[in-house]
Symmetry: C3
Subunit: 134 residues, 3 copies
């Protein structure tokens, strides 16, 4: 129970949402915990994690499209790596999510999936899953 499950993924575009729900479910099953909470953490400053629609993939495309409109890669940004847009997206979407566990399952809505959000790919990335029983 004290373990943190660590996963690795390869992203394939600069901006991309990847459904990681099944990996989080695997971590819950492996823990054997029936009731508690689950924290998903992204250890990167140009990526994030969100929960959104798991049915029509056009939703992810629309989310990324409009985030890019709101937060373009401005020439006036000072950061020398030229990816401050990616950093701001990370802070707006957030780098962690907490999900309730009930009866050994993630207590998500019918249409909710957990998405790794790449904002500065393509990159080799990690995410962590920690389960607290209670």
């Amino acid at each position: 129970m004290a373990n943190v499950e660590k996963f690795e993924i390869q992203t394939t575009a600069r901006n991309q949402m990847i459904d990681i729900t099944k990996y989080v479910e695997m971590a819950v099953k492996k823990s054997g915990v029936k009731n508690g909470i689950c924290v998903i953490h992204i250890p990167h400053t140009t990526a994030g994690v969100t929960i959104n629609e798991n049915a029509d993939l056009d939703v992810c495309d629309d989310i990324i499209f409009h985030l890019n409109t709101l937060i373009p890669n401005l020439k006036t940004f000072k950061h020398f790596e030229r990816n401050s847009d990616s950093h701001l997206k990370s802070s707006i979407i957030g780098c962690s999510q907490t999900v309730i566990i009930e009866n050994g399952e993630l207590l998500l809505g019918r249409w909710q999936g957990i998405y790794f959000c790449e904002f500065d790919g393509e990159r080799h990335r990690k995410f962590f899953v920690k389960i607290i029983e209670g």
Copy 2:
């Protein structure tokens, strides 16, 4: 303590913030937990939950007004349900909040209330409250 409290509410506008603090407080009281944390989860992909000012209701109006300006319902969105604006608002505000419990009370600031955020109403909605002692 292993229970999840489940609440239902009816929203009455497409975009709306509803103060649910008293329901979360009820769940804390019912649990009898004196110290720990409390996770509020919204199982919908076009709604969210935030913590903000509980005194002047104009703050909620201003928040909704400017969110609508930033994230209009664009005709260029691809999602067939025509509510990608609602989905993006949900990911930006977030579908869960975690609050500290101290001495049997939510440890909120004096002006902080917990708000259910409807972004695609009017709808019949749910929210969940899970308490972890510790």
Copy 3:
């Protein structure tokens, strides 16, 4: 373990990001907890907390610069205190963060720091750290 660590800081600008990682680390050390999670809560409605780059401070400047562009202090806002921009920024960035604790340390990425976000300073502010073992 049931204690909440409470910190106070003085901000010095209307919009400002202040690295508070070392204070959160202190709370973890003091607790003696080796494995669990840590909730950082800001009890204010015009401030927030985020996790982002801890190396090049230009990233914080760029984040604040573009947040100000996206969310100006509009004359059309109704709230009598004339700081609805600060409230919206607080809800978009969020007023709490949850971080995993592993082997007595915050499980952050190499470039991740925890930042108190002032959106309506300069002000005397507080933040709370609660640790859950598990």
